[in-house]
Amino acid sequence: MTWRVALVGIVALAVAAGPWVTRVQAAGEIFIPLLVYRTGPYAPNGIPIANGAIDYFTLVNERDGGVNGVKIAFEECEDQYDTKQGVECYERLKTKNPVLVNPYSTGITYQLIPKAPVDKVVVHSMGYGMTATADGRWFPWVFNFPMTYWSQASAFVKYVAAQEGGMDKLKGKKIAHIYHNSPYGKEANPTLEELARRHAFELTLLAVDHPGQEQKATWLQIRRLNPDWIYISGWGVMNQVAIKEAAAIGFKMDRVVGNWWTGTEVDVIPAGDAAKGYKSMNFNAPGAGFKVHQDINKFLYDKGKGAGRRDGIGEVLYNRMVVNAMLNVEAIRTAMTKHGNKPLTGEQVRWGFENLNLTEKRLEELGMKGMMRPLRVTCENHEGNGQAFVQQWDGKKWNVVSDWIEPIREVVRPKLEAAAVDEAKKLGYTMRDCAKEK
C-alpha cells in the first residue's frame, strides 16, 4: 500500500516536473519562434498568418534545403493575441536562441522593443508596431519595413486626392477616421491631422472602444457628418461590424477604405454581398497566382505537408506572412554573404536586416514578382522604401485597383524622427552614427 502510494507519487512528480524542463535547440539550424494565435477572438486573423509562416519556412527547407544549406527550425507558441501570454511564449522560446521574432501583435511588439538589444533578437514588426522605430539610428534592433502606419495614412490621402482629381481638390473634403481606441488605432491620427492642415480637408476622428461589437453611435455620427471618405483602422470583430454598418446605412462602399489590417477575407464575410466595393490598403498583392504559390502547392500541399487548407493559400493575411517570412529569409541570406553559410547569431542577422536589398530580379527568382515592391533597407531607414496600393472586394476576391502609391515621405519622415527621439529617450538610448556602421 505504502509502496503503491510512493510509486504514484513519483510518477505524479515526474509528470508535474516534466513540463518545466526546457530543451536546447539542435546545433546547425537557425531558430525562429512563431508567436501565433489560432484560438481566441483574433483567431480568424491569426490562423492564415500562422499558416503562411509555416508554409514558407517549410518550403525553404524542403525545396532549397534551407537557407544556403542551413535549415530553419521553428516552433509555434499559442498566445491568443494576449500580451502576457505572448511574453511567456517569447521567454520560453528564447532559450532556443532565436535570431529574430515576428510578434504580430502591437502589444507584444511594445514588450519586445526594449528587450531586443538586451536579448540580441531582431524584432521585425512588418507594417505594425511602433512607427518611431523606423529610425534605425535610435532603434538598431527593430525593423518595420516595408511601411509604417504613418506612411500608409499619407498614401491613403494621396489615393483620395487622385480619385478626387488632384491634391488641390482635397480642400474642403470631409474625411472621417474610425479607429480602434488603442495605441494601434491612434497611430494614423498625427499624420492625418498634419495632412488635413496642409491640404485643408476636414478630418473627423471617431474612436471605437475595444472590442467594437457595438458601433451604432459611431455610425450615427457618420450619418450626420456624411463624409466624402472613410478610413478605418480596426482589428478583429471591429472590422466586420464596421463594414456591415457602413453597408447598412447605405454608405458608398467604394469610398470606405480600410488600412491593411482592415481588409482581409474574414472582414467582409458577415456583410456578404453588401461589402462589394469595399476597399483597403495593402502592400502585398492578394491571390494565389504567383509562382511561389505553385511551389507551395507542389512541395507541400501535394505531399500532405501543408499547414492549413489548400483554399487558404493566397488569402490576404496568408500572403502577407509569406512575404514576411520571405523577408526574414532574405535578411538571413544577406547576413550570410558577410558571415558565411552557417547558423548565425542575432547580431549577425541584424546586419542582414539592415543591409537588405531586395531587387526586382531577386523577387522574380523567388517567384514573387509583383507580389511586393523591391525594397532597400538602410541603417537610418528601417522602414525601407515600400509603397502601398489599394485593393477592392468584388464579392468573391480582392482585386488590385490602384498603382503603387509612394507615401508623402517629406511629411512623414521628419515627424517620425522627432518621435524616435522621444521614444528612445524614454529607454535611455543614444543615437548611433550610421556613417560609422559597416
Partner: protein, 358 residues
C-alpha cells in the same frame, strides 16, 4: 510525526495570538522566505524568473489586496484592473518627473494615489451591496482605462501612447527597465510582496481586520455594536487599492517593461478575482495559492503534452488546456468550496495527527 505540537505550551497571550503559533510553522515559513530570496536568483534561468515567478509575485500582491476588500470586508470589486492602472500610470508620471526619487518611494506613492482613487470609487459601497456593487465598481474600471487612454498627459504625450519603465536603481543595482537583470526584479517583487503580506496578516488579525469581518458577516449587527460602516468600508477600499496600485506599478516596472492601457483591462479584474475566490476568501495564504493556481496552471498545462511526448497542433492544445483548466476550477470548488487555503488547512490537520489518526 514531524508536525507535532505536543509540548508547545502558550504561556502568554502574545504567544497565543502570534501569526504562527506553532514552532514548525514559524521555522518553515522563515526557511521558505529565506529560500525564496536566495535560491531562485541563483538557480532559476531567465525564463523561470521573467515568465513565471515575477508575474506570480505581482499577482499574489494584487490578490492579497483584493482579498482584504472582498474576502475580509465582504465588498465585491471588479475595479482591480483600474486601480492597478492608477498605480502604474502614477509611478510612471512620478519617476519621469522626479528621476532622483527612489523607485521604492515611487512605488509606495503610486500605491497611495491608487488608494485615493479607491476611496473615491468606494463611496457607492455605502448604499450598494453584493453583485450590484461589483458591477458598479466596473464603472471605475472602464472610466479609469478610458481616461488613461484618452489623456495624453498620462503618457507624457508619447506618440506611441504607451508607458515605458526607465532604468532605476536601488542600492546601485538596476531594478527596473529593460537593462535590469531578471534576478534583481525578482528580488524587488519578492521583497514588496513579503513585507506587504506580513502587513496584511497583521492588519486582518487586529482591530481593523476584525471590524472588516464584522461588516462582512452582518453589516447591520456590526453597525449596532459600534463599527462605523463608512470608515470601515472606505478603509478597506483604500488599503486594498493601495495594494493593487503597488502591484500595478510593479506589473509595468518589474514585469512588462512597457504597457498600454489594454494591459489593465477588465480581464485583469476578473483574473485577480478568480485568484481570490479559488484560493480562498478571507485568507492571506489563499491569495498566494490562488495566484499560483491561475498563473502557473495554464503554463503547466500548455507544456504538459510536449513533455509527455504528445504532438498536437497548438490550437487543439490550447482548447484542451482551457477545458482542463475550467474542469479543474469546477473540481476544486466541488471538493472544497472554501478554496485552496481550506484544503491546505485540512491537509495540515491530517498531518498533525499522522501517522496515528486515532
Amino acid at each position: 510525526m514531524i508536525y507535532r505540537e505536543a509540548g508547545q505550551f502558550k504561556t502568554s497571550y502574545a504567544s497565543d495570538q502570534a501569526v504562527f503559533p506553532i514552532v514548525q510553522d514559524r521555522v518553515f515559513v522563515l526557511a521558505a522566505v529565506v529560500a525564496a530570496f536566495v535560491v531562485p536568483p541563483l538557480v532559476a534561468g531567465d525564463y523561470w524568473l521573467q515568465a513565471i515567478l515575477i508575474p506570480f509575485l505581482i499577482y499574489a500582491l494584487a490578490a492579497i489586496g483584493l482579498n482584504l476588500l472582498t474576502g475580509y470586508a465582504g465588498q465585491l470589486s471588479l475595479g482591480t484592473g483600474g486601480f492597478m492602472a492608477v498605480g502604474a500610470y502614477s509611478a510612471f508620471k512620478l519617476t519621469t518627473a522626479f528621476p532622483q526619487l527612489s523607485i521604492i518611494a515611487v512605488f509606495l506613492l503610486s500605491g497611495l494615489a491608487a488608494a485615493a482613487i479607491g476611496l473615491l470609487f468606494g463611496i457607492p459601497s455605502l448604499r450598494i451591496k453584493g453583485f450590484y456593487l461589483a458591477v458598479a465598481t466596473l464603472a471605475a474600471q472602464f472610466f479609469l482605462i478610458w481616461l488613461f487612454n484618452k489623456v495624453a498627459w498620462f503618457t507624457n504625450y508619447a506618440s506611441s501612447g504607451t508607458i515605458t519603465a526607465p532604468d532605476r536603481t536601488v542600492l546601485g543595482v538596476t531594478v527596473t527597465g529593460p537593462n535590469a537583470p531578471a534576478a534583481a526584479r525578482y528580488v524587488m517583487a519578492l521583497a514588496f510582496v513579503a513585507v506587504f503580506a506580513l502587513v496584511a496578516k497583521n492588519l486582518v488579525r487586529g482591530r481593523i481586520g476584525r471590524s472588516w469581518m464584522a461588516i462582512r458577516d452582518r453589516d447591520i449587527a456590526a453597525e449596532i455594536i459600534g463599527v462605523r460602516p463608512l470608515r470601515t468600508k472606505l478603509l478597506a477600499f483604500g488599503i486594498s487599492s493601495f495594494y493593487c496600485g503597488v502591484a500595478g506599478a510593479e506589473l509595468v516596472f518589474l514585469y512588462l517593461g512597457s504597457a498600454e492601457t489594454l494591459a489593465f483591462d477588465i480581464n485583469q479584474s476578473f483574473l485577480v478575482l478568480f485568484m481570490v475566490i479559488i484560493g480562498g476568501l478571507g485568507s492571506i495564504l489563499g491569495s498566494w495559492l490562488g495566484a499560483a493556481f491561475i498563473i502557473l496552471l495554464p503554463i503547466f498545462l500548455t507544456r504538459l503534452p510536449h513533455s509527455l511526448g504528445l504532438t498536437m497542433s497548438v490550437a487543439l492544445q490550447k482548447q484542451i488546456e482551457l477545458m482542463i483548466f475550467g474542469g479543474l476550477i469546477l473540481f476544486f470548488l466541488i471538493v472544497e468550496p472554501h478554496g485552496l487555503a481550506r484544503l491546505w488547512q485540512i491537509g495540515k490537520e491530517k498531518l498533525r495527527l499522522w501517522p496515528f489518526p486515532h
